[in-house]
Amino acid sequence: MPRELMSIENLSVIYKTDLETVRAVNGVSITLEKGKTLGIVGETGAGKTTLALSLMRLLPKATGRITEGRVILQDQDLYKLSEIEMKSIRGNLVSMIFQDPMTSLNPIMKVGDQIAESLILHNDEKLTKEQISARVEETLTLVGIPPFRKNDYPHQFSGGMKQRVVIAIALACKPQLLIADEPTTALDVTIQAQVLSMMADLKEALDTAMIMITHDIGIVAQICDYVAVMYAGEIIEYGTIQDIFDHSREHHPYTVGLFGSIPDLKHKTRRLSPIDGLMPDPTMLPRGCAFSPRCPKCEPLCKDQKPPDRDNNGHRIRCYFVGGAQ
């Protein structure tokens, strides 16, 4: 029996300014199981961050709008909750880690206080001051920072250490779901590996589900259970990690291009290789398949109508010509 944690149903998000309307997320549907890791891969501008922010209801107020769709988290419709109810979910049931650790911490607050803040805001267990302080030290140890450093300020930490603090903040309340938006992109390669393996261990230890947003195929291969490939605000291919990395299977032409030749799971992986052409302007998306202008297999039909999802035992591909049950 699948233990469903979150289901995203037909989610669409726009950014509306006086000048233009950016269609950042277009009809995304994914479900996520408890304790599993979903990787979301795609080029810059594909709408990954926007998707993540809409799950937290943290889109920029002035411009971001959710135009349709639902997000169900443990039988609660997140978009029907009041702001107060949503507040008690953020940082508690669902946490988020942002891309740049250098700017993600408040420069004038001690890191210990920044971790404690999460605990104080969601103090369901009525912890005392001493207990909270003990929990802060525990959490710091968990992410590999000596507890005595809780009285230091962010500028006294290196980039990798800062990201550990950010992770500590996100995990302080032992969330059900951790959304990590390119958590290692801003770090040195050596540090990247450390932080990643630490995240994988913690996820295992706390039984937290994770959405790992990245454009690094290596990361996907390393820690994901499921993979969604995002393009121009759509999920164009979705499947288990075995589905996605299986040479013998058919893949979306974009995925094929994105992965270059899809690397073997057992071998050293590499970064996404660029594909000729650019992603369509999200203010003027093509009528048919969003990838059609760059697609080597494009037919007139593709330019005219959106292709359907073809499903083969949960391995979904949004294309007329590939995928589906064989």
């Binding site: 408040n106 420069p107 805001l121």
Partner: protein, 311 residues
């Protein structure tokens, strides 16, 4: 830290030399006759040049400047040509009025400008924001003497609510303080708004929201504290400017303060008084900036760390 403060205080010496040299030069570009000022129009020419000679007024420029500095080092800044009293006696007689004026004006400006600026930023693009932006734009550009005269016309002459001239009661201070604080309040509002907006868009504010912090907590605990640094700078600078900038207001409202003293001394070419008054204002301004800098280190651990490294 202590070391840093001592260094900064030693910096006052070149500043004092620079200020006195510039003012001394400017004052010497204009023809003047101190003997005549001191002895009056009726005195005979012989006595006037005798006195000028005693004052060293006929010595070459650099000799006179050197003598001035030599006197200043012994804390002898000379006597006012006009009143014959030591110049700093004249300054301290009037300084409390100026200090009151500037201090109250800064408080008023902060009390109005900062909260409105925060509100304007938090409710960006709302009606409150639009209105306070337009009003602050108008007032930031309004000349103080014009505001002062309008104030006198409306509240003193027409409504007869408040006295227009002098400094004898606290009621005398209401109009000048308000007038003086209006442009400061307006510029403070604009600055608070823009720094708050900038801070609110920082990543760490998003982190705070993602933790589940309430909007109030995000604004006051996270954003405002970070936005406070530039606000405090401007507040300190304003205080400095208002100390000197009270010149106009003191003249509009006939308040016997430092500004009025300075203007009158310039008019009369009372060189020792002008020198001492400008020197006093310059050093005061520098000290205020130092205090502001030190306040930084209490708010921002990064700056504190930088000061400690200078050791």
């Amino acid at each position: 830290m202590t070391r840093y403060v001592i260094n900064r205080i030693f910096l006052l010496i070149p500043i004092a030399l620079g200020v006195t040299f510039i003012v001394f030069t400017i004052m010497n570009l204009t023809p003047s006759d101190p003997g005549r000022i001191m002895l009056g129009e009726m005195a005979d020419r012989e006595a006037v040049s005798q006195l000028n000679r005693e004052l060293g007024f006929y010595d070459p420029f650099f000799v006179r400047y050197f003598n001035y500095v030599a006197g200043a080092v012994r804390l002898d800044f000379g006597v006012s040509f006009r009143s014959g009293r030591p110049v700093f006696e004249e300054i301290f007689l009037r300084f409390p009025n100026t200090l009151n004026l500037a201090f109250l004006a800064v408080i008023c400006a902060a009390a109005v400008g900062i909260p409105l600026g925060i509100l304007s930023a938090v409710k960006q693009y709302s009606h409150i924001d639009t209105v306070s932006r337009i009003i602050s734009m108008l007032f930031a550009a309004a000349p103080v003497f014009f505001l002062g005269m309008m104030g006198i016309y409306i509240f003193s002459l027409r409504l007869q609510w408040l006295p227009a001239f002098g400094a004898s009661t606290w009621e005398h201070f209401i109009l000048p303080v308000i007038t003086l604080s209006i442009p400061s309040a307006a510029s403070l509002l604009r600055l608070t708004r823009s720094t708050m907006l900038e801070t609110i868009n920082q990543d760490y504010i998003r982190t705070a929201r993602a933790k589940g912090a309430s909007e109030r907590r995000v604004i006051f605990r996270h954003a405002l504290k970070n936005a406070l640094l530039p606000i405090i700078t401007i507040l300190g600078m304003n205080f400095g400017f208002l100390l000197g900038g009270a010149i106009l207001i003191e003249n509009v409202f006939s308040i016997p303060g430092l500004g009025q003293l300075l203007v009158n001394s310039i008019r009369l070419m009372d060189i020792p008084q002008v020198m001492a008054s400008t020197l006093f204002l310059a050093l005061l301004f520098t000290l205020i900036i130092l205090v502001v800098d030190l306040m930084y280190s209490f708010i921002d651990p990064r700056i504190k760390a930088k000061y400690s490294k200078i050791k």
